[in-house]
């Protein structure tokens, strides 16, 4: 009984801690936004990244509702970081439902309309004259299901005698899955909210991705974005567990 009361008090105290953290993040965001407008965006972003390359940035959203402007801001800053792919994973597919508004905002910011795994092509985005970064929207149906789709494709080939199980190599499977989704493995995934989780994000792609937590994507400031890149640049990549 007493332990249960102590537990409830602990829970309450932690809720308060998280609330303060979220509020202070919001305040930092507003101050950072002002600073960001006055500084050289590209230089700050590239300096934060250091010698690291960020070819694919994944943003994993959970229950938080975000505005189209929050997404476009990240895509525009990623362009300054030399990022070729930015993907937004929202398990419920709410972003796909707002695709028209997002496309319009992306085009207004000088970027191409977003893509989904369903219209992924083997052809690189730039080969078709596309502008970088290429923005992709993902949801729960693109995670494990993408691997199952690749497996079915290989089974179809086996059925017509083009392939045997011994011929299924890591490289072949990797190629099928990556082509099917249309994005390479991300170097950095940012989980928005209080918890780090894949939330159904592409399991095959997440093997060696660095995961960082961001309390909220809403009104993220340039300072907040630069600070994420700075943290990422300091993460050391070591081999094995």
């Amino acid at each position: 009984m007493a332990t249960s009361v102590i537990y409830k008090l602990l829970y309450l105290a932690d809720s308060a801690r998280l609330l303060v953290l979220r509020l202070s993040h919001g305040a930092r965001g507003r101050i950072g936004g002002i600073l960001g407008d006055n500084s050289d965006t590209g230089t700050a972003i590239r300096r934060a990244l250091g010698s690291k390359t960020l070819d694919h940035l994944a943003v994993i959203l959970s229950k938080e509702e975000v505005a189209v402007a929050d997404l476009v801001r990240v895509a525009v800053w990623s362009r300054a970081a030399g990022t070729a792919h930015v993907s937004f994973h929202d398990p419920w597919g709410r972003l796909k439902a707002r695709r028209a508004a997002l496309d319009q905002a992306l085009q207004a910011a000088g970027l191409d309309p977003c893509r989904t795994a369903a219209n992924a092509t083997a052809e690189p985005h730039t080969a078709a004259g596309g502008r970088l970064p290429c923005v992709t929207l993902l949801d729960m149906a693109d995670g494990k299901a993408a691997i199952a789709r690749a497996a079915r494709g290989l089974c179809e080939r086996a059925l017509v005698g083009e392939l045997t199980s011994a011929g299924v190599s890591m490289e072949l499977l990797d190629g099928c899955i990556v082509r099917g989704v249309g994005v390479p493995a991300p170097e950095l995934a940012v989980c928005c909210g209080d918890v780090i989780s894949l939330c159904g994000f592409l399991p095959w792609h997440a093997s060696f991705t660095t995961f960082l937590l961001l309390p909220s994507l809403r009104n993220l400031s340039l300072c907040g974005f630069v600070s994420l890149l700075d943290k990422f640049s300091q993460c050391e990549q070591r081999g094995g567990a």
Partner: protein, 302 residues
């Protein structure tokens, strides 16, 4: 150090466990036990000593989990990537595994008494024959124990696990047991190395690395992950309680995502063809059991 240890907690630790156990306790926790080498370097001892300390820490962590009510634990003991380390270190790790699994076999009565079920997940074909035999024996002699389950990932990576699963499915189609439309994420889940385990509720990674490092990627797609800076040999009960509290805090959010994942099932094949899937899964399990029996009885030629 023995695999089975009795709990020797202080009153303060017992109180901590009781407080955290008042909340929802995860049924299955996975660990990436990282930091043994850095621990060795920090303490100026041989790398082998760091790994040995890491095993001791695991043996101490299991009773803590049991005391909290965590029934199943999965640990990342040796990645396929670890084969790329210096040969001397790989050999030392294999020797350590030989010693520990031999000890485990010697303690079979104690394991039975405590109801500990050991499973090894990974591509055991990549291991030396004598170690493979010890592991196969450990799995078989503990398979009927059911009070707690310890899954040890050895010669494992998640991508290799998925690759083997896809290969099995392709083999099933070639043999006429399956049709391509049977190959769904549900089928793949049923034929992974971990097909007998529920998905982990919580993944804990020590040593400050913020990556999954190719561990259980399929299984933890909707689990919460706790990254902590402590090196694995320094991991304490308080770190475990902190991780479980973090799980309890995020439980509701993760539950919503899990429910969504369950709703997103792929119903491609007609329901009347589901018997094909069941038959295939049964065959995969039988084949694995046969492989284990064969290797457990194998005479090692020296």
């Amino acid at each position: 150090m023995s695999w089975v240890r009795d709990n020797q907690m202080t009153w303060l630790q017992k109180l901590g466990v009781r407080i955290i156990a008042s909340g929802r306790v995860p049924k299955h926790v996975a660990f990436i036990m990282d930091g043994n080498r850095r621990y060795a370097k920090k303490h100026n001892v041989q790398t082998y000593e760091g790994h040995s300390k890491g095993f001791d820490r695991l043996a101490e962590t299991l009773p803590w989990c049991s005391e909290l009510g965590i029934k199943e634990v999965t640990v990342y003991a040796f990645s396929i990537e670890n084969f790329k380390r210096p040969q001397e270190e790989v050999d030392a790790l294999m020797d350590l595994a030989r010693q520990k699994f031999q000890r485990l076999l010697d303690e079979r009565d104690k394991l039975k008494e405590h109801g500990v079920h050991i499973r090894i997940i990974g591509n055991l074909e990549l291991l030396p024959e004598d170690l493979r035999k010890l592991m196969a024996q450990a799995i078989l002699i503990t398979k009927d124990n059911n009070r707690s389950i310890l899954n040890i990932a050895y010669a494992y990576t998640a991508r290799e696990e998925i690759l083997q699963t896809v290969k099995q499915a392709v083999g099933g189609v070639t043999d006429g047991v399956l049709s391509p439309s049977n190959v769904t994420k549900e089928l793949l889940s049923k034929t992974l190395y971990t097909n007998k385990s529920p998905t982990p509720d919580l993944l804990i990674r020590t040593s400050g690395e913020v990556r999954y490092s190719d561990f259980l990627l399929w299984q933890v797609s909707c689990s919460c992950v706790y990254f902590t800076n402590v090196l694995w040999p320094d991991f304490t009960l308080w770190h475990l309680l902190g991780a479980v509290f973090y799980y309890q805090r995020s439980y509701q959010n993760m539950q919503i995502v899990r429910e969504l994942e369950n709703q997103c099932s792929e119903n491609i094949a007609p329901a009347e063809l589901s018997y094909q899937v069941d038959e295939f899964v049964e065959k995969v399990n039988e084949k694995r059991l046969h492989w284990l029996s064969q290797h457990a009885e194998l005479e090692v030629i020296t």
